[in-house]
């Protein structure tokens, strides 16, 4: 019986964030567990900061996660992962892509963008339960297309042990939600992600 399990998937619009969240929600449905998910649609999708929130459990009502109560943070991009700092606490497992996407505005305003290592140190200062990084885009390319980077990270998150669902049900959900031409690609990406996360 899961009372409350909170997930944020954060990244840049266009990275397949909604798909990743939907896979977990669908898995919850398969297990007969209540959930509520909050999504972003509309203009903010256009390469802006995006965060979907998924709350799973018998006691959840609000579609929005309370700061300090996050269980799993799936970060599709390091800066966007760090942007979730108010949510990260000792109960949070962080699984993050190591591929930085620097916002154009930072180049134009000459904002000093932190390095990946600085971001990792910053996240560590919040004492997360665990922190993993994964070469999501490299592995997605190996699987066949960059487009599957989101599923690589999902695989890494599954391997981290933080997701309270069995692997086969997640695979099933990926199969069901993938358009036919991406199904095999996504399953390959999921397996590569499972094998390749790097504990930090």
């Amino acid at each position: 019986m899961i009372e409350e399990f909170n997930v944020i998937v954060a990244g840049v619009g266009g990275q397949g964030i909604l798909f990743t969240t939907n896979v977990l929600a669908r898995t919850a449905l398969k297990m007969g567990i209540n959930f509520v998910q909050s999504e972003v649609h509309g203009l903010s999708q256009r390469y802006g900061s995006i965060r979907t929130e998924l709350r799973i459990g018998s006691e959840v009502h609000s579609p929005l996660i309370l700061e300090g109560t996050l269980d799993l943070l799936i970060g599709m991009e390091p800066l966007e992962t760090l942007r979730q700092a108010p949510y990260i606490s000792e109960r949070t497992t962080v699984v993050m892509s190591d591929h930085m996407i620097v916002p154009m505005a930072a180049y134009l305003s000459r904002f000093r963008v932190p390095s990946l290592e600085e971001i990792i140190e910053a996240i560590k200062s919040l004492n997360p339960k665990k922190l993993f990084t994964v070469d999501a885009y490299g592995l997605a390319e190996k699987a066949g297309d960059y487009i599957a980077a989101n599923v690589v990270i999902l695989g890494a998150a599954q391997a981290s042990g933080a997701i309270p669902f069995p692997e086969d049900l997640i695979r099933e959900a990926i199969s069901e939600l993938s358009p036919a031409r991406y199904r095999d690609l996504n399953l390959r990406a999921f397996d590569l992600g499972r094998e390749a996360s790097l504990p930090r």
Binding site: H41, L82, A85, M104, A105
Partner: protein
């Protein structure tokens, strides 16, 4: 991802907006019409899918007023109809809706108003609950996806019973919430009605008749008030002295906050927020010592509850926005409610928010802001680039669409983003009030929505300014809906397309040019000429939305092959970043690279580099030269 048409009894995962669509289908919907607008759009998308399978009618109308009138016409012909709009869309439709409540109807009609507290995708956070009372329009407010479905069906049934339109008022966090929904029976079908007013003057709102109908409306609202309590419930310990009154998504935040804070309180959850279940509220007020009102935006419930308390419980302490315990702006979260509890009852929050703020604020300073920007390969970027070069000193009236993002550097070709069609409308005023060069930027869908009357006005009144119609062959910002300028309709059938160039020529616009924005030089030249023209000039920048082009390329089984920067040629002059700002550019500190995971391989940036350092790779196509996306 859920099946909208799954059989009765199934538990399906639906988006709030899909649940609303399903509720309408269970309420016997025959006709629906809407103009897309976040956060309401997916209701129409869902109905467009359903229309193909169930034979009901759905259209994307040219604007919200027309959509409402389509639904009114159907409801006056005995059918069950629905129209859906974002909160500001209601302003456009309001003229037709205010008089509709006087007229009533013979079928049924549901009006969905999707409000956007926090302006996630909007220009204001107006609270449309006021429309309900102002127009005499009964209103239901769901608190989760299950209720979104159930209340829509209920609204349809109630509308049919009381012969008056019902409003379903939602907020973004209901529309864009996803969760399990227990489904009921679909009864929607295609139908032919008959226009037959129940009385000869029923639909004729002229003075004497309208005066009579206003009285009837007030009576009807009184009658509906009698059933308002059916949509409210009291939860929690009966003898609690604290009573929370709430509705909509705020109820969900309250539920979590009460559990986390361990606060003992009972809840009065209201589903029909106009007309209110006054007696039920009054009795609730009598049973408590302190009322705490939790509602987003304006103190709509709070003011009415205060008025009721005068009769029922004059000494009751009522806490909310007016007492400073809850904010009157932006959206609520569990935290907002917990902080309200702390202020009101001294309850210690289970989470130390000041500690969280303290340790995260320094880390957040490290993170650069990331506002939405135009996609890679977006034709608007090229149009903005050309416009900046051609008309650097003009003042730019922008409009509602993705191109509103051109207000950002390095383009800065939007000084105004206001309301649908306001680019041309306000250009009328600025061009007469000043001697500045004035440019209005408007998208194709927005032009059909509200740009046409403003342009006619400009020609007739001999204004001088330039209109750039950024025609990307779709309603892009809301996710690619059809509009009157494209050759297919809302459910993908062939449809007559209205030619923008023929339309503007017929208005008497003398200078009309159509360009491919990916032809930077040609676009810039056309804009320079247009600005020199006396009178109203129009440049149509025509190229399909890049996301559609990418989708089509992938659907053909082809791969997107990114461009790359030749390291030997790149001098790190940063002209590409400083003038074109495609999100695929990466500044390494010594040269510029193209991120292959972001580049869509359009090739437009090749024209921007003064050193010809941007090159195709094996398999790359050039969208302009290869005529892709035009």
């Amino acid at each position: 991802m859920g099946d909208l048409l799954a059989p009765s009894g199934t538990l399906e995962t639906l988006l709030g907006n899909e649940a609303i669509a399903r509720g309408a289908l269970e309420g016997g919907l025959n006709v629906a019409a809407a103009y897309p607008g976040t956060p309401s759009t997916e209701i129409g998308e869902a109905l467009s899918l359903a229309a193909k399978k169930l034979g009901i009618y759905f259209e994307w109308s040219s604007n919200e007023k027309v959509a409402a009138e389509v639904a009114i016409g159907a409801a006056w012909s005995g059918l069950r109809s629905m129209t859906m709009m974002k909160h500001v869309g209601f302003n456009v439709a309001a003229d037709a809706i205010f008089t509709l409540t006087y007229a009533g109807l013979t079928g049924a009609m549901v009006i969905v108003s999707a409000d956007d507290p926090h302006c996630h995708s909007s220009q204001n956070e107006q609270d449309n609950r006021h429309y309900s009372e102002a127009a005499g329009l009964p209103m239901l407010e769901p608190s989760n996806v299950q209720e979104a479905k159930d209340f829509t069906k209920e609204a349809m049934e109630l509308s049919y019973r009381y012969k008056i339109p019902f409003m379903l008022r939602t907020t973004t966090r209901i529309n864009h919430q996803r969760g399990p929904v227990r489904l009921g029976e679909i009864t929607a079908k295609g139908a032919i009605g008959k226009f037959e007013p129940p009385e000869p003057d029923r639909y004729l709102q002229v003075g004497a008749i309208a005066r009579k109908h206003h009285l009837e409306l007030l009576k009807k609202i009184k009658e509906i008030q009698g059933i308002s309590g059916n949509y409210a419930r009291v939860e929690g310990p009966h003898d609690s002295e604290i009573g929370i009154i709430t509705s909509g998504v705020s109820y969900a935040h309250v539920k979590d906050a009460l559990r986390l804070a361990g606060l003992e309180a009972k809840i009065l959850k209201i589903g029909m927020t106009f007309p209110l279940p006054e007696r039920m509220i009054g009795e609730f007020l009598r049973s408590i010592n302190t009322a705490f009102i939790v509602e987003e935006l304006d103190p709509f419930l709070e003011l009415r509850i205060k008025a009721l308390a005068k009769d029922y419980a004059p000494d009751l302490e009522i806490l909310g926005k007016l007492t400073g315990h809850m904010p009157q702006v932006h959206e609520y979260t569990i935290r907002t409610v917990l902080e309200g509890f702390s202020k009101a009852f001294g309850v210690k929050s289970p989470i130390d928010f000041s500690e969280i703020d303290r340790r995260s604020s320094k880390l957040l300073e490290m993170v650069p802001p990331r506002q939405p920007i135009l996609c890679p390969a977006c034709p608007h970027r090229s149009a903005g680039y050309a416009l900046r070069r051609a008309a650097g000193r003009a003042v730019f009236m922008g409009d509602i669409g993705c191109y509103a993002l051109l207000f950002q550097p390095p383009f800065r070709v939007e000084h105004v983003t206001h309301a649908m069609g306001s680019s041309i409308g306000i250009a009328n005023g600025v061009s007469l009030a000043t001697q500045q060069d004035v440019v209005a930027l408007i998208g194709d869908s927005t032009f059909f929505h509200a740009g046409i009357p403003a342009l006619i006005n400009a020609v007739h009144n001999k204004r001088k300014f330039t209109v750039v119609i950024m025609d990307n062959r779709t309603t892009a910002m809301t996710g690619h809906q059809s509009h009157p300028g494209v050759p297919y309709d809302a459910i993908g059938r062939e449809a007559p397309s209205i030619s923008i160039e023929d339309l503007v020529r017929a208005m008497g616009v003398s200078y009309v040019r159509i360009v491919d924005p990916f032809d930077h030089k040609g676009t810039e030249e056309a804009m320079r000429e247009a600005l020199k023209t006396d009178g109203v000039s129009v440049v149509i920048t025509r190229r399909e939305c890049a996301l559609l082009t990418v989708r089509n390329i992938r659907a053909e089984g082809k791969r997107i092959v990114p461009y790359r920067v030749n390291r030997d040629k790149c001098t790190y002059c940063r002209v590409c970043i400083n003038t074109f700002a495609c999100p695929a550019f990466v500044d390494t500190g010594s040269l510029v690279e193209i991120d292959p995971a972001i580049c869509f391989g359009c090739g437009a940036c090749v024209q921007v580099c003064p050193y010809d350092a941007i090159e195709p790779q094996e398999g790359s196509i050039n969208w302009r030269d290869d005529r892709v996306g035009v």
